[in-house]
Structure formats: structure tokens, C-alpha cells
Symmetry: C2
Subunit: 438 residues, 2 copies
């Protein structure tokens, strides 16, 4: 940790603290010419003084001192470098020249380098949270981000719904390691089930499409791309110094590469959850079970608008449904049970909808139902799994429904606040399923 | 309450309970030929037995007994009727004929009637929760809904963010009172600041556009319309028995009537909150203050895509911002403070961005910032109000940021989970502002 600091507001302190709090399994060597100890760790005056081989050097010194820190790292033959320091390409001409010098130096040394202007990286398999963004829960999601802050914010948000991270890289200005390198790495990473990206600009578009297309066959890639408008692109220039490209070009590239595009951080997490916890549907036919007409209609609309199909159920199933449902219930699909507190009835309806291979996936829309929420959630959990078909739940209610939502999530059943979000998450699963089977 | 029940699962019990729990200020007369007391209230064998003039009759008897209940109401000269009973137009030919008979009878009596197939109504000014959907918090939002369940679900969800309801009507099959009648009523209602609607189908489109256009001049109308697709329209048929019309026709009608269309229940609540708590912007120029580049870019994109403008700030303001911000900060707009724990700096930036009338509204995007969340929220609250310009906050973080979100909401500052949602809510304010000034 080159530039380890005693000042709690400095990145060189925050990263050290997160490395310790995250429970890193290796040894940490803070480098600071003045302090003798930081956060209980012995400090070293320079990289040369460190007695052991360094696997990774984190550089968080002032921009003007980065070159000399890199020279120290090259001499010490470190395994890799992450440059946290900012003040490069994103700040104008002088910074750009400095960054080019860094880039040449690390490239000719062969030491792979992330940054500068990175918020750090996380490798959950060794509990290494070398980042200013906190210590995410461990899990199956990798996040590559041109915004460090988005990483930090999504860590906590994801943890609220039980979603964790395998790897995180705030890639910064990409003086060496870029999206393509990390995609290839993550494709091989056994702990990563889905790759998520926050993108402002991708350097080498042609290679990106070629690489991402191959990676998409192995695991899904979700991309949240900003700088969609002229005004937004001008804003990226002062953020990561990225040059803008028309958003249509990105749309085309994502489509070619079978990348699923999302439009905000919530969609990123919603879809990542579904992709990592549910089986892929074998087709696009959706069965909808609802306790109220409106949400059933909304789910049907949203499924249809997302390219899914809500087919009328076969007469054989409808006949059986009619035998168990009240007279005003609808059995076509959506199956509108009308309001019911009877969990057994839910179970029977689920079994019938999934019978005869009439649908490829199930959406259950629940409104309120607070009286019997835990029993109902347990019933859904008990019905899930046997047919190998994805289950997604829309539970529109206040936070009072959180206990039931928790029960569903502990079994990996995604639960969203509206039928529309639920349908789009299922459409994401269906789309990925199609793209790997094409 | 005709059809008051001792069975806790029956609507005739649930409504009575909600009337009592809601603290209704008037007298309640349960009508039930068998019981002598329900929920502590003396019951009456028939409507004729009730000693006083009835302002409102709620009918929750079996469909086949509704006609006779209505005849009782007509004889008793009740002020109005709400029919909860289902089993009419939504169930086919026989139900449709029965509904037509009801319609003729109440129309010729002149007693205005909501339903059948209604989940009830709420009038907060007299604490009357004559609905199966619970007891909403009191507040400035009216909800007209063709889905009762959506009402119940949004009551709790809205309360989570401090949003309450003035009136609620589950309008059911509209045998008499329709959307137009209720819009005209709500336009005059001093306790309603915004009208929200969940729509499957509107009967008389021409009159609707004429009425809604006038109402929109007085207060904003938000419409969440489902049955957008063929499959969704088939589903509405078995729900409210509504006949479908092409979604494009609705789009055109809403545009003519200056109704703001929303696409799920969350948008409905998000926009309703902003419209009832913030001043309208005088124009579409947005200042964005951010603690991180990515969310600033995302907010800029979303503003631009929603028809707002993110203009570069005048040099005079930028010069002053440069004097107080760190060297890597960006002062153009978005103003990217870069990460800062300094609340005074936030206050100074807000004041500068709002100076010289350079923008019409402010969006603040915050990512995590948990260490100083309450201080930061209090700073934003203290800065709000003097310039008469709307403030909206995007706070992307885990639930650990809820205390800060609560501080903002108690002062009426909307806070959303992503920059995109925040920008769209502001665009809704700007759009309504334009439409009343056109």
C-alpha cells in the first residue's frame, strides 16, 4: 500500500482500513516514509524495504509522485499494480501526458496495471478489499466500473437483497488493463456467475465486441452505459476523460456481443440477482398467477412488451383450475385466483400452471397479503425447484412485507416491487437463454 | 353497511373493521338479518330499521341480492351507494344483464353509485375508510383505481415514504359514477393536490379528454394505464370486463388532456410525491450537484432524455466554485465536488449553483456517504426553500442511508434510489409546469 496514510480522510488510510476490515488473507505492507505504524500494521519507508515478494502494489500517492512509485514497483518486480491516484487524463493536457508516460512505463515492464483514477479492486476469494468503496458481501456478481462510487453504493444495496460480489474493479482511466482484459479474466473465474459493467466509454470497440461475444457464451454480461446524450458525454469528459461515441454505436456493439443493456443501477442489480439465482427458461412462455386483476394485467403487458408470451393455458389445465378456484376467478392466464388467504390453493395453482409443460416460467404477483405473508412465502419456496423452471415474484406492498420477501430471497427467488420489474427480469433470463442457444 | 358479516374473511366484515380502525367520524349501521352485534356495533335486520338518514350505503351482499339491496336504499333515500359485490359484467352475459338492471335502477333514482365490483372508497376528511384495502395515511394524493388491490398495496408503500391519501375510489365496473364524474369532483376537493389514476379502460373518451383537460389546469393528473398489449387487453376483459382500445389512442387522449402517463406503480408514487411536495420549476434548466462522476453523468443523460436541459454554468459562478472546490472537481454542470465529507462545502455549492438564476431546479446525487449522512441531509434541508426552486435528491445506497432519507422526506424533499428516477420525477414537475402555463 504505497501512500498508506494516517489521515482518516485520505484514500491511503481508507483502503488500508478496508483491507483489514475485509479480512484479507495475505500480508499487508503499508509504505509511508514518516509513520512507523498505521492501523496496527508496521509501515515501511519504501518498497525496497519490504522483505517479501509483492503480489500487488496499490499506489495512492499524489499524481506527481506516481512515476517514481511505479519505478519502485518495477524494481521490486511486483505482480501487479493498481493506481488509485487521480489527476491524469481526466484533468487536461498535462495530466494526459503524465498518464501516457505511466502507460508506457508499465506496458514495457509487463506489469499489468489498473488505473490511474481507480477506486480500487476487490477479490472476494482471498477477502481482498483493496478499495475505498468498502467491503462487499461475497457472492457471484463481478462488477467492472468506470465509477468507483457506483461500486460502493451498489455493494450495500445488493447486500440488502442478499446479493454479493466475487470481483470488483474500478478500472479508472485504463492506462493498461481495460474492459477486454478483465472480461477475458472473468470468463475463466469460477466464482463469477454474471458480469456487470458500468461503462462511460470503451476504448477498442472492435476487439471489445469480439471478446465480449465469446464471454457472453460462457456467462451473461450486463452493461449499464451512460453518456447516452451529448450533455451526458460532455460530463463523462470531466469524469474519466473518456471520448464519446454515439450511443447507437454502443447499442449495436452490445447487441452484436450479446450483452444485455440496462438503464439504471437498479436494473443492474435486479437482473444480476435473477441471472445468478434462477434457472434459465427453455422458452419464452410465461404463466402468471395473481391475487388481483390489475397486477396480472400489468404483468401480461410487461411480459409481452419485453418479448415474452403469455399463452392461454390448455383446456385440460383450465378445467382443473376451475374445480379449485372460486367462481369469479379467471383461469386463462393470467390465472387470477382473486384474493385468497389459502396457501394450499396457491400451491395447487402453481402445480397446475406448471403441469403439461404449458409454460417455461412462472411469475407470481402478490399485492399486500400481509396477514399470511410468511405462510405464503413458504408455500412458494416449497413449490420452487422441482420443475427446473424459473420463479419470479412481484410483491407490491409496504416494507411490512419484508419478512416474506426475505424468505423468498433466502431460497434465491427474486422478488421485486412491481409486476413490470418482475417481467423485465424474466425477459432478461429468457433473452440470455436464447442467446446461448442460438 | 349492507351485508355486514361476522366472518373475518368476508368483505362485509373487513370493511366494517376498516371503518372502525380508520376512526370514522360518523355513525356506522351494520345491516345483517342474523347477527345482533358485529365488532361492537349494533346491527340492523334491514335498511328500513335504521333510525337516521343514511349518507352512504355500502353494499356487500351476494350478486343476486344486490338489486333488492338497491331497492331498500332507494326507499330509504340514501345519499349515495358503493357496490362492493362482484359477479357482474366481468363474469359474462348473465352478469352483464344484471349490471345493466342495476345501472338503470340507480340512474333513474338519481342516487349516485360507485361499482359494482368496487373495493370501496376512502374519504380522509372524515376518516372514512369504507374499503377492503385498509386505512391509508392522510395526505394530498387522490387515487382513482380500476384495481382495488393496487390501492391497498400503494397505501402502505406510500406511507413508507411519508405520502398520504385524501380520497380513494376503487371505481369497479362503473355502472354509474365514472372517471369523469370523479375527476370533476376531485378538481374541487381542497384536500387533493394531485390526482392519480390506475386505468384499464375509460368509457367515454371524448368527454374524458374534455373533462381531464380542464381538471389538469387546476391540479396534475397522473395515469397508470394497463392493457397496453393485446394479451394485456384480453386479461382486462376477465378483470373489469373492460373493452379494449388501442394503446395509441390512450396515448393521444392523455396528451390532449395534459395527463402525465406513468408506467408502473412506483413512478405513480414517485411523481405524486414530487408534485405534492415541491414547487414547480419556472423552466427546464437543471443544476446537478454530485459527489461522484458516474451518477452526475447518469443524471445528465436522464435529464436530457426527459426533455430537461443541463446548461453549462456561467463563468462567474464557475470561478467562485473553483475557489472552494478541490483541483480535480468539475464546475461546469454537473458540478462534481468529488467525494467530500464537508457539509459546509455542500451548502456553498448549492448556494452558488442556485445564484444568478442560472438554473430552474436542483438535483443532488449522493452515493453512499453514510459516515455523515444525517449532517449532509440536514444541510440540504437547510438550503432548501429560499429560492423557491425544486430540490430533488438521488441517494444511491443501502438501507443504512434511510435515516438521512427520512430527514429529507420530513422536509418534503423527494429522495430516490437512482439519478434516473430523480431526473424523471423532475421532468414530470417541469412538464406539468409547462402545461399549465401554455
Amino acid at each position: 500500500m504505497i501512500g498508506a496514510s494516517t489521515d482518516q480522510l485520505k484514500t491511503g488510510y481508507v483502503i488500508l482500513r478496508n483491507l483489514i476490515n475485509g479480512g484479507f488473507r495475505g500480508s499487508i505492507y503499508p509504505v509511508n516514509p514518516k509513520a512507523s505504524e498505521i492501523l496496527g500494521l508496521k509501515t515501511y519507508k519504501s518498497v525496497d524495504e519490504i522483505p517479501n515478494q509483492i503480489d500487488l502494489a496499490i499506489i495512492a500517492v499524489a499524481a506527481r509522485n506516481v512515476i517514481s512509485a511505479i519505478d519502485d514497483c518495477i524494481r521490486a518486480k511486483v505482480g501487479g499494480i493498481v493506481i488509485i491516484s487521480a489527476g491524469f487524463r481526466e484533468t487536461g493536457q498535462i495530466g494526459t501526458e503524465l498518464e501516457e508516460e505511466i502507460s508506457e512505463r508499465v506496458k514495457s515492464s509487463g506489469i499489468r496495471t489498473i488505473g490511474p483514477n481507480s477506486a480500487g479492486i476487490v477479490n472476494s476469494s482471498v477477502n481482498m478489499c483493496a478499495t475505498i468503496e468498502g467491503t462487499p458481501m461475497k457472492g457471484p456478481v463481478a462488477l467492472l466500473s468506470q465509477s468507483g462510487a457506483l461500486g460502493g453504493a451498489t455493494f450495500g444495496w445488493a447486500e440488502d437483497v442478499g446479493l454479493g460480489f466475487s470481483k470488483f474493479a474500478s478500472i479508472g482511466n485504463m492506462c493498461d488493463v481495460n474492459f477486454n482484459d478483465l472480461l477475458e479474466y472473468l470468463a475463466q473465474d469460477p466464482e463469477t456467475k454474471v458480469i456487470t459493467m458500468y461503462v462511460e466509454s470503451i476504448g477498442d470497440g472492435n476487439r471489445f465486441v469480439a471478446v465480449a461475444k465469446n464471454v457472453s457464451l460462457v456467462k451473461p454480461i450486463l452493461a449499464y452505459k451512460v453518456g447516452r446524450t451529448g450533455a451526458g458525454q460532455r460530463a463523462t469528459l470531466s469524469h474519466t476523460g473518456s471520448l464519446a461515441t454515439s450511443d447507437n454505436i454502443y447499442d449495436g456493439a452490445f447487441r452484436q456481443a450479446k450483452i444485455i443493456r440496462v438503464y439504471d443501477a437498479e436494473e443492474l442489480l435486479d437482473y444480476a440477482y435473477a441471472l445468478t439465482h434462477q434457472p434459465l427458461p427453455k422458452g419464452g412462455r410465461v404463466g402468471i398467477l395473481t391475487d388481483a386483476g390489475g397486477p396480472g394485467v400489468a404483468a401480461t403487458d410487461a411480459c409481452t412488451l419485453s418479448g415474452l408470451e403469455v399463452p392461454e393455458l390448455p383446456d385440460s389445465i383450465q378445467t382443473k383450475l376451475k374445480q379449485i378456484l372460486p367462481p369469479f376467478a379467471s383461469t386463462k392466464n393470467p390465472v387470477d385466483m382473486t384474493f385468497s388467504l389459502n396457501s394450499k390453493l396457491y400451491q395447487d395453482c402453481i402445480d397446475l400452471i406448471l403441469s403439461e409443460n404449458a409454460v417455461d416460467a412462472l411469475i407470481i404477483t402478490i399485492t399486500s397479503h400481509l396477514e399470511v405473508q410468511q405462510e405464503l412465502a413458504n408455500t412458494i419456496v416449497a413449490s420452487f425447484g422441482s420443475g427446473g423452471k424459473p420463479f419470479l415474484v412481484s410483491w407490491t406492498a409496504s416494507r411490512a412485507a419484508d419478512p416474506a420477501r426475505g424468505i423468498l430471497r433466502r431460497r434465491g427467488i427474486p422478488v421485486y416491487s412491481t409486476p413490470e420489474k418482475t417481467a423485465r427480469a424474466l425477459a432478461c433470463l429468457a433473452r440470455y437463454s436464447r442467446s446461448v442457444h442460438e
